[in-house]
Symmetry: C2
Subunit: 147 residues, 2 copies
DNA sequence: CTTTTTGTAACTATCGTGGTTACACTGCTA
DNA sequence: TAGCAGTGTAACCACGATAGTTACAAAAAG
């Protein structure tokens, strides 16, 4: 099982917002959906989560959507947490209720927990070290290169 | 979405095998299921994957199951790979088919790929650094401590 | 007041998981 | 060699998450 694409869609949407021109046409959920190639409702749902996390501000009516911070101040970990693709601290699921009458069953959870936690943290630290700025810079570089 | 418990069950089963006494009663899928607290078929399915990965040897009939290597030579990453909880190199799923007519849509996948790959690798490196031996040692220590 | 867009609810299809039953096959053992 | 304990697997089910879709009320801006 993989981590939901909500995360990559969220980064995509935030990149669009980060690169949006002041004088450009407003970025509606419909336009974003066009770039992501999905349904506007899917975008609005994710936008709702990003809003709840304080990453974006959405103006209802014919308003538009904007970042609340500079791209350099938005880490991919913040986005990852915002869309809740993985419940905090539970990347790995461990079978609950092993048999307490067995030494292994009684202690396996505790014996595994430390390692799994470290594995998860190692992954998240990489996300913490990357920002939306890095992504958009990369996109601009690639756009310039390939036309 | 989390990583399947197949992984933790596999480590549980391997721990049972590692700690099994020579003169002990044979570890059947039924007994292991008793310790994990699940159905024997679930155990057999996982044993099948561990066997395919060359981590255990299973003697059909009234045979029993054994590790093919010493616990110190079985990394948790090998177990993780064996049970295929995550397709190799694809911990994160990225939305396919973004709009190629949009600069962001055209380059988001490549722009994200490097970071996501590093995040995944960081996680796997922690698993690579832990062995079945570490787990069983920990279990024995906890068993001795709590009785 | 009309128009545009957001916010949500509700429903759907699809997929992975984990549990369960059923049964053929294997190989020891009496 | 017949019996039987245990494995290997197929088939099916229930459950939950995902992602897509339709529908519509609520919000503002003109």
């Amino acid at each position: 099982m993989q981590i939901s694409s909500r995360f990559s869609v969220a980064v995509h949407v935030l990149s669009l917002l980060a690169l949006q021109q002041e004088d450009d046409v407003l970025l509606t959920s419909e336009r974003m959906a066009g770039s992501v190639n999905t349904n506007p409702v899917v975008i609005r749902r994710i936008l709702g989560q990003l809003k709840k996390a304080g990453l974006v501000e959405v103006r209802p009516a014919s308003g538009g959507t904007f970042l609340t911070r500079r791209p350099a101040d938005i880490s991919l970990l913040a986005v990852y947490r915002a869309v809740e693709v993985v419940a905090e601290g539970h990347l790995f699921s461990v079978h609950d209720k092993p048999n307490p009458a067995c030494p292994v069953g009684r202690n396996i959870q505790a014996a595994l927990d430390d390692t799994l936690q470290r594995a998860q943290t190692a992954m998240e630290q990489v996300l913490a070290g990357a920002t939306l700025q890095h992504v958009t810079t990369d996109i601009l570089a690639k756009t310039a290169a390939t036309g």
